[in-house]
């Protein structure tokens, strides 16, 4: 049962501070164990043979020559894993179509993208495994392929699944459109009829990779007794367990997954790629098998988020009221259905109170890796289009872009196109924080521009478990099953220490394996500080109740006469008796005689999460000679509910903005006419480096969520949502040219400037 709290007014000592992170020293000293760092005696190396074709039928696979190579212990194909029914299966909240997933992990009838796994080898060394891949003979019947989302929707496009009927348009003939869904409120025609100004623009965005530094890695050991173990870095080892068990036909509890330290995920490590293959190879050989992707494999076969094609039309009256909005969002799902297009459609207009609005969502397959979640999946893509159009509306009516947003800002009770009314505030406060920032009024120089944009993200709740053990010396062992991707061990320790009234340093915060704690859903959706934090606080409260009972036992008084205050049990009043406070340490020392171990575990399915809002502005300077965009300043205001570890919160905001700047300015996949990726490495797929980035100023806005004991909403994702639009709007401000495609790389910007003649005008401005 959800309990409302007066979270905004709860006095705290530790919450909001920035103590040393538990994982800091191991990471900076190289002692942290990432996925690729694990090894077992007798371990073999696994390597994957990948398709050279973007689309082809697999006619035959001959592994005999590879099998015969000395040092090779096994060669597997999809035939070594059970096929799956075409149904959505699994525990309720992780239901997926395993028919698709098993084919994504290893191709069966067809390969659907260049890099698609077709076989795998286990050998005594990496070199032998690599050599064996070249001895596997695969005969393909090459088929036409399609990469672009608009081309994939054409009537004559090659079909990835010849029998796929669009869900939501069942009358249509088979196509690459797997889903069509419309969200609508009000009367669009009547709304646009009221508008004084209407802007309609079309947009294209490229898929971008999550760009985590650590490649995927897995070590698996098949047990002769059927008890298997996996070590891998992921955003959710319970989901790795569920997916791996289902794909291999195992009992879920017969697989134990140990969480490795993770070197970045950003949504991209919520699936399995290597784990089922490594475990199958281990089963075939009887030895542990380790598999580590190369960077090239990461780019060719994992992630990215969707590319898109979008059209957005919005109307505004002279007084700044947005009266109508209409958007069509077509998102690439990659080789298998399931882009985040519903998120995109639902988030698109969610910061605005618009009476008449519609969002139409298309989920489209094409010959590239299956799209995977990336930081507020779908929302940044839609925001690039919507916030660009809003910027044009502000220009048309001569209104400050923050004022236009304030005039139409949602708050509690505002309607949405997806049904319910907003229940939480926070958006308006981010806009006010931005507008009050002194730099917002600072003048700009030649060829410089300022852009504003906002974003919405739902944030998450869901299933989490936490355990608190009080040791005999009064120190606290805190365990959860939530992978620490962005600092959750520190924030969990802070919430536990605050609740128990003990020093932060006395709490040892860890992440347990799947056999040692209850189910935790993935670390994603900005859910962990909220949901797992709620479980931690409730576990601490159970421990406090236990400690009060033990103090009552020691004092021979009723437990109702004992309160917990400042880390100690105290009599509720002097009338109860003259007892000196019993600290947690003192009670723990009497653990045995008062009943044994002091332990509490809480497992919850947390609801009541509150959405995140972010509003941002940036200043850029555009070089008319090269088209290069330099980011001069970036200010990001975000409502986080309440910051638990302040420095980590700032880091999340800075990280989201940095990734968004890369998405905006440089990141893109370059496919040749054969559907091969030509820039599968960080030299050619250009993520921003420190010298590309300005000082990113994080403005933490705290409008508490009353459903969380400390007011948490979530912080990890909404910060990336406005970035691409803010950058486009700043470039528009600097150049008078509206860019509608990402990335806004120097060649793209220069071409747009030359096409419009803007660069000549800008050169004159520099000369003057």
């Amino acid at each position: 049962m959800l309990k409302k709290t007066d979270a905004a007014n709860i006095p705290v000592e530790l919450i909001g501070s920035s103590p040393v992170r538990p994982d800091g020293v191991p990471k900076v000293t190289g002692m942290a164990q990432y996925g690729a760092d694990y090894a077992l005696p007798g371990m073999l190396w696994g390597k994957v043979l990948r398709s050279p074709h973007a689309h082809a039928r697999v006619a035959s696979i001959d592994t005999s020559r590879a099998q015969a190579l000395p040092g090779v212990k096994a060669v597997m194909t999809a035939a070594d894993m059970p096929d799956q029914d075409f149904t959505y299966q699994g525990p309720e909240r992780v239901q997926v179509n395993f028919w698709h997933m098993t084919r994504s992990v290893m191709a069966r009838e067809k390969v659907l993208f260049a890099g698609h796994p077709v076989a795998a080898v286990a050998a005594t060394t990496e070199a032998i495994a690599r050599e064996a891949l070249g001895l596997i003979e695969v005969k393909y019947e090459v088929l036409p392929h399609v990469i672009d989302v608009d081309q994939a929707m054409q009537g004559d496009a090659p079909l990835l699944f010849e029998d796929m009927i669009t869900r939501g348009n069942e009358q249509a003939k088979p196509s690459n459109v797997s889903r069509l869904k419309t969200f609508q409120a009000g009367d669009l025609e009547a709304g646009f009829a009221k508008a004084d100004e209407i802007v309609e623009l079309s947009f294209k965005t490229e898929p971008v990779h999550q760009g985590y530094i650590e490649p995927h890695a897995a070590l698996a050991r098949w047990g002769a007794d059927g008890q298997s173990e996996v070590w891998s870095s992921s955003q959710g080892h319970f989901v790795v367990r569920a997916f791996t068990a289902q794909l291999l036909g195992l009992n879920v509890s017969d697989v134990v997954v140990h969480p490795a330290e993770i070197g970045g995920g950003f949504g991209g490590k919520t699936l399995v790629y290597l784990e089922p293959l490594a475990l199958t190879l281990s089963k075939l050989t009887g030895y542990p098998v380790k598999m580590v992707m190369t960077r090239e494999e990461v780019f060719e076969a994992t992630g990215p988020t969707s590319g898109s094609s979008m059209t957005v039309k919005m109307g505004v009256t002279r007084d700044g009221t947005i009266v109508a909005a209409d958007g069509t969002f077509k998102l690439q799902a990659g080789a298998f259905p399931g882009s985040p297009v519903l998120n995109a459609a639902m988030c698109a207009f969610s910061v605005y109170e618009i009476e008449n609005a519609r969002a139409v969502a298309y989920d489209v397959v094409s010959n590239r890796p299956k799209a995977v979640a990336y930081r507020a999946p779908g929302s940044p893509i839609a925001a690039f289009a919507v916030e660009s159009v809003v910027d044009e509306l502000a220009r048309r009516i001569g209104m400050d872009p923050i004022d236009l947003r304030l005039k139409n800002a949602v708050g509690p009770g505002s309607s949405t196109i997806w049904g319910p009314k907003h229940a939480h505030g926070g958006y308006r406060e981010t806009l006010e924080a931005l507008k009050n920032h002194p730099a917002y009024q600072q003048p700009l120089g030649p060829n410089q521009g300022r852009g504003v944009a906002s974003g919405f993200w739902f944030n998450g709740g869901g299933e989490s478990a936490a355990t608190i053990h009080v040791a005999e010396d009064g120190s606290i062992a805190l365990a959860t099953g939530s992978m620490d991707v962005g600092g959750s061990r520190a924030s969990m320790a802070l919430m536990a220490a605050e609740t128990l009234g003990v020093p932060y340093a006395s709490v040892r915060s860890t992440v347990s394996d799947t056999a040692s704690i209850g189910y935790n859903h993935v670390t994603g959706g900005s859910r962990v500080t909220y949901a797992t934090g709620m479980a931690v606080v409730q576990a601490c409260q159970k421990v406090i109740d236990d400690l009060r009972s033990r103090a009552a036992m020691i004092w021979d008084i009723d437990v109702d006469h004992v309160v917990w205050d400042d880390g100690a049990a105290k009599p509720v009043s002097a009338e109860v008796g003259d007892f000196a406070p019993l600290t947690l340490k003192e009670i723990a020392a009497k653990r045995a005689v008062t009943g044994g171990p002091i332990v509490a575990e809480v497992a919850i399915n947390a609801g009541g999460q509150a959405p995140g809002f972010s509003s941002q502005f940036c200043d850029v300077e555009v070089d008319p000679e090269t088209g290069a965009v330099k980011v001069l300043r970036y200010v990001a205001a975000q409502d986080v509910g309440r910051a638990i570890h302040r420095r980590y919160v700032e880091g999340q905001i800075e990280g989201g903005v940095a990734q968004g700047i890369g998405w905006a300015l440089n990141e893109t996949y370059i496919y040749n006419d054969k559907g091969h990726l030509e820039n599968a490495g960080f030299l050619d797929y250009r993520v921003p480096v420190a010298s590309d980035l300005p000082m990113i100023e994080a403005l933490i806005v705290e409008v508490a969520n009353p459903n969380h004991p400390f007011g948490v909403k979530g912080v990890g994702e909404v910060n990336i949502v406005p970035v691409m639009a803010a950058m486009a709007n700043a470039i528009r401000d600097a150049t008078d040219v509206r860019l509608t495609a990402l990335p806004m790389s120097p060649p793209a910007v220069l071409a747009a400037l030359e096409d419009s003649g803007a660069n000549a005008r800008m050169n004159e401005a520099v000369s003057a």
């Binding site: 519903l342 049904g419 319910p420 739902f458 609801g607 009541g608």
Partner: protein, 92 residues
Amino acid sequence: MPESVFEPGQGVVKVTLAGAFEPLTTEPQTFDLAVSNVRGVLRELDARVPGLAALLEEESAVAIDGVIHEIIYTQPLAPGTEVYFIPRLESG
């Protein structure tokens, strides 16, 4: 499951399927239901559209007076509450 979960409700809540949940529903629908918790809503909807409860459990989240929750049977619903089933969200 405690028996009390299946108790009929004391008041009417307004339940909306926001958009279609294909293939069982093809357009938004609203129901006034006398229930006291989410399990009651699912039971009543399933009686009207067989199979809908399982589909909603698999594919939707629920907004109760605007606050989004995972679907949990025991979530209480006061009389006059607005309940929306919305598509389940993907997280990153």
